[in-house]
Symmetry: C2
Subunit: 216 residues, 2 copies
């Protein structure tokens, strides 16, 4: 199913999590309002998203759990084919490696890279750290397609370009640097300071539509 937005993909991951956590106890079906309540979202949103997948439920029985999981896996499982590298094994990079290594995910965290030789050629949180000089070679060998960028802002653009040339198709950027990359590369960023600035502003000025019951 091509053409889905990042937002719907995010919700599909949550639907799958909630199904895995659902105490089935012999039940074969689940209602959209049960999924919605667990995830604190609107019932109508769940039904709309599942209709987009082509999954059909009935008002009397709801959705068949196994069929729904199969439909979700069809879209989300190719993620398992992606190998992920963490670039920059500083404090944040190592914390992410540990978090991802211990959390259930479809992604294979393949390895890490760092400029500091002291951190390299050893294992952090079960993940091998290579010298950044070997980036091109290791990315190709391990078929890495997704990178988590935890390098200092000044190094980010250069490292990102090397990753893309080596075959990476998606980058999650923690560096706070504005990256300029080919439009075909999927790029997302996490900037904690910006997140906090937004929260600070929005906590002082709650938007009208949130007051009326919708999240911003």
């Amino acid at each position: 199913v091509p053409g889905l937005s990042g937002k719907i993909i995010g919700r599909l991951v949550r639907y799958r999590r909630s199904l895995h956590a659902f105490p089935s106890a012999g039940r074969t079906h689940i209602y959209s309002h049960e999924i919605a309540e667990t995830l604190v979202i609107a019932d109508s949103q769940v039904r709309r998203d599942l209709r987009t997948l082509g999954t059909r439920g009935t008002p009397s029985r709801g959705y068949e759990i196994l069929g729904l999981l199969r439909d979700l896996d069809r879209i989300l499982k190719p993620a398992a084919a992606h190998a992920v590298a963490v670039v920059g094994a500083g404090r944040l990079g190592r914390a992410l490696m540990a978090t991802l290594h211990s959390s259930p995910t479809d992604m294979r965290i393949s390895c890490a890279f760092d400029v500091n030789p002291v951190k390299c050629d050893r294992i952090h949180a079960g993940i091998k750290c290579h010298r950044v000089e070997a980036l091109e070679q290791v990315v190709a060998q391990e078929r890495i397609t997704i990178a988590i960028l935890c390098v200092p802002a000044a190094a980010a653009q250069g490292v990102a370009e090397r990753l893309v040339r080596a075959g990476v198709r998606g980058i999650l950027d923690f560096s706070s640097a504005p990256l300029s990359l080919p439009k075909t590369i999927a790029l997302d960023e996490i900037d904690i300071n910006i997140k906090l600035a937004k929260l600070a502003y929005l906590s002082l000025h709650p938007p009208e539509d949130r007051r009326n019951g919708r999240r911003a």
Copy 2:
């Protein structure tokens, strides 16, 4: 200036950063296209955002740098009044404390909380860690209004409710748990697994409008 969206606040933070980093060298004015190039965004977007602030530039000279900084500060500086707590001093929580402590930000990272007594009553990365039992008392004393939630998913809802009752107005949630909180509370979340799932999908299915030059 009330009524601004989270998106524009994010860009205003970036504009201010780019002004601080701009090699002024005796210059008093800056053009919107100079800001836009540094941040890899559209010139027209910069001009539209600055018009929203009420900041005026001229085609011949651009924007006066000091005046622009003053207008940005007027909106973003109240953030300095916010004290931030990190709740959950595990690996990720401690990495965030270290990152935030060393990065330039308007926010004051006030303290941390943890359930594990071994981690408490000591300093991590320059930040005091309290026992979670003292949460209500410390949040009130230190006038903490923003919390970064790094607790396990199973504990998140309970801790979030305690924070809100104690006076917190905004929560940045790293727990992956769906939180149900009053609508007036500003809530944002960072779920790395969901970010990676989106990148995996979008790197295989680049959206049409990104192919045509726009970011998703």
